[in-house]
């Protein structure tokens, strides 16, 4: 939202680099585990990223019961 100064972008990018080091440091030997690094979102602070891209809302869903067929609404 609105123009972001170069300082802000640089600060967000630095924070991202630190976060990548942290996230990648835990299980280096675990093969196939996720890798984290620079991508199109690295210039955003987490709060900015969340405010723009993580906008899905939820409500409680009924627990699935394998015994009962899936409750299908309005299907003949």
């Amino acid at each position: 939202t609105g123009p972001r100064s170069r300082e802000q972008q640089a600060a967000a990018f630095r924070e991202s680099l630190n976060r990548h080091r942290y996230l990648n440091s835990f299980f280096p030997s675990e093969n196939s585990t996720a890798i984290y690094g620079i991508n199109q979102f690295s210039y955003l602070f987490p709060a900015e990223f969340k405010a723009t891209y993580l906008r899905s809302k939820t409500s409680r869903f009924p627990k699935y019961s394998a015994a009962v067929q899936m409750s299908i609404s309005n299907v003949s």
Partner: protein, 214 residues
């Protein structure tokens, strides 16, 4: 169930799309599973209008956010026919709803289901195999930095905030994982997809799962 299954291999999953700076993941995920449901029924695979859901699903907030359940309920109650994307293209911002005449061709749904599959991810795999790609809502905070590989840490099931499409699973390796289609473009993650460990409800992937029926 096969050890590995991906609806993309059946050519019933459209290309990864990019929501850009519109908070419309909830619409992308619902439209994506409707596209696949019709393709599984033998209809041509084609992009349907996400903008129509963003603009017209009055029980949601357009690019400011929404609920997959509300969108499915709106589609089911109103029997709105989704038109092709080419007829109502995505413009990455909310707008006024365009209405179409009844003669307009489009794709409505017959129903949907919504369940919490946590602790039952094998049942969730059966549902995916039976009904087609599933809508899921995950906690995607750590997906900001995701480049590839199987997400198995740093991703709690705390607070679901991002809607995605689960297109398959792969249990052939030492770490079984879900194949998850995102809406952040094909340059993000693994060609626009993420791999999330099966079992343990990583990222809350099994908490809010929906399927559509056409």
């Amino acid at each position: 169930l096969p050890l590995r299954f991906d609806w993309r291999d059946k050519q019933v999953v459209t290309q990864v799309r990019n929501q850009q700076t519109c908070g419309g993941c909830w619409a992308f995920s619902v439209v994506g599973v409707v596209e696949s449901a019709y393709a599984i029924k033998g209809k041509p695979l084609e992009d349907l209008s996400v903008q129509q859901v963003i603009d017209c699903s009055y029980n949601n907030y357009g690019c400011n956010g929404g609920s997959t359940l509300n969108a499915l309920n709106w589609l089911n109650k109103t029997q709105v026919k989704l038109v092709r994307d080419s007829e109502y293209p995505f413009k990455a911002q909310s707008g006024l709803c365009h209405y179409f005449s009844d003669t307009q061709s489009g794709f409505s749904i017959k129903g949907y289901s919504a369940h919490d599959f946590s602790d039952q991810e094998d049942e969730m795999a059966k549902a995916l195999f039976t009904f087609g790609p599933l809508v899921g809502i995950v906690d995607a905070v750590s997906w900001q930095d995701y480049l590839g590989g199987i997400i198995q840490h740093h991703c709690s099931s705390g607070e679901a905030n991002h809607a995605v499409i689960i297109t398959g699973f792969d249990k052939t390796g030492s770490t079984p994982y879900w194949i998850v289609r995102n809406s952040w473009g094909s340059s993000w993650g693994v060609d626009g997809y993420a791999y999330v460990k099966m079992g343990g409800n990583i990222c809350g992937i099994a908490d809010f799962v929906s399927a559509v029926f056409v």
